[in-house]
Subunit: 205 residues, 2 copies
DNA sequence: ACGTACATACCAACCGTATGGTATGTACGC
DNA sequence: GCGTACATACCATACGGTTGGTATGTACGT
């Protein structure tokens, strides 16, 4: 899709660079707090290039959410937590994996679509929907392992489902990110993830 | 503090009306997405009145977080969940209370300071700190009941504390709000709160 | 093989408006 | 008459978005 040329080797990558800039800057300042000029400056492109690729700022928000969904799902698909044979171990390994990447600057480990959801859910439904798809699709990848663990360990659940537990894991992570941002301390978020892991062990083991 | 007059009976309440407007509009559009004119219009005051009470938009953000902390802590202090004699029942009643108020429009039941934290934690440290205080102080009100429940039920916790569990409840609620906004469905949030309640029961009963 | 037609990717400069913020004045209570 | 609580009018800038253009690549008929 990119198109390199002789005199301008970067040519063709403006769209991707804008999406990467959006991922980084929106996580720092939020969607409304991020200006088109911010993005152009960070990506090293002009506003003409920006509006060539995105018809509006809202369109970039949607594309950024989709870009996030694509890149993160690729990351999780190749992560090592799928290896254990016991499905419960896979779920717990997923939790460990999520915990392990909570470190450093909150702007770098927190979730783009969770952040965008908060401020766009009323004003920009298209962005909200793209964010919802990203979150729910990721949660859905956990359902088979949870369901298999329930079956294997003879868990009888009358008042909850694999789907609701999968979504709950995402709620805990999103909430943990908020605490980490508020306190500027990843450790607070990791403690919540510990509670989540303990819950799943109590529930399924 | 308010000062009524003959020709302008609303006079004196501009600051409070601005803070109420901030509480409502920032929850809909976020802090950056909310303009000073939005607030003045909703509060029915002029920009002169606005800058008489708040030296900047950031100052209003801080005041709005403090206003939120004050009004919500008053609400929770007089809520009925403190009545049970068993401290575990009080904690569970708190969860039930939080679940019960999750209904209707997400903009009305979600948390102002959780929303503001997300977009201000880098750009406006003063706002972030006010948000953190609001969240952590509220979490701290749960600690005595959790600690008492641990003692009463002989819970032996080597790897977690009453404080971390109290904060975890707030993480779950904040995360549940994000899912509710993304899906535009309070039910998703309530299911996460159910998981939280189940966790506390497994842990402390 | 080559010219034409078209599409893609980008740039520089500009525009109308909305934004946060200010300067100045006035009504009112004490 | 003095401080507080506002109102009116205004400003410099930043904002999202537009315009018109150029360079590069591709499809295709001949």
């Amino acid at each position: 899709m990119p198109r390199a040329t002789k005199i301008e080797p970067e040519r063709g990558g403006a769209r991707t660079r804008l999406l990467e800039a959006a991922r980084d800057i929106i996580r720092q300042k939020g969607f409304s707090g991020t200006t088109v000029d911010d993005l152009c400056k960070a990506a090293g492109v002009t506003k003409g290039a920006y509006f060539h690729h995105f018809s509006s700022k809202e369109a970039l928000g949607v594309a950024a959410a989709e870009f996030w969904a694509d890149t993160t799902s690729a990351l999780f698909a190749q992560a090592p937590y799928h290896k254990p044979e016991d499905p419960l171990d896979r779920v717990l390994a997923y939790i460990d994996f999520r915990k392990a990447i909570i470190e450093g600057d909150p702007a770098e480990f927190t979730c783009l679509v969770g952040t965008m959801t908060q401020e766009t859910f009323q004003s920009f439904p298209a962005i909200r929907d793209a964010c919802a798809t990203s979150i729910l699709d990721h949660a859905a990848t956990l359902e088979p392992d949870i369901a298999a663990a329930m079956k294997l360990h003879g868990t009888t659940a009358s008042d909850w489902t694999a789907q609701s537990l999968a979504r709950h894991t995402q709620a805990v992570l999103q909430g943990a990110f908020i605490l980490a941002k508020a306190t500027n301390d990843p450790a607070v978020a990791r403690e919540s993830v510990d509670h989540l892991k303990r819950y799943i062990q109590l529930l399924l083991a």
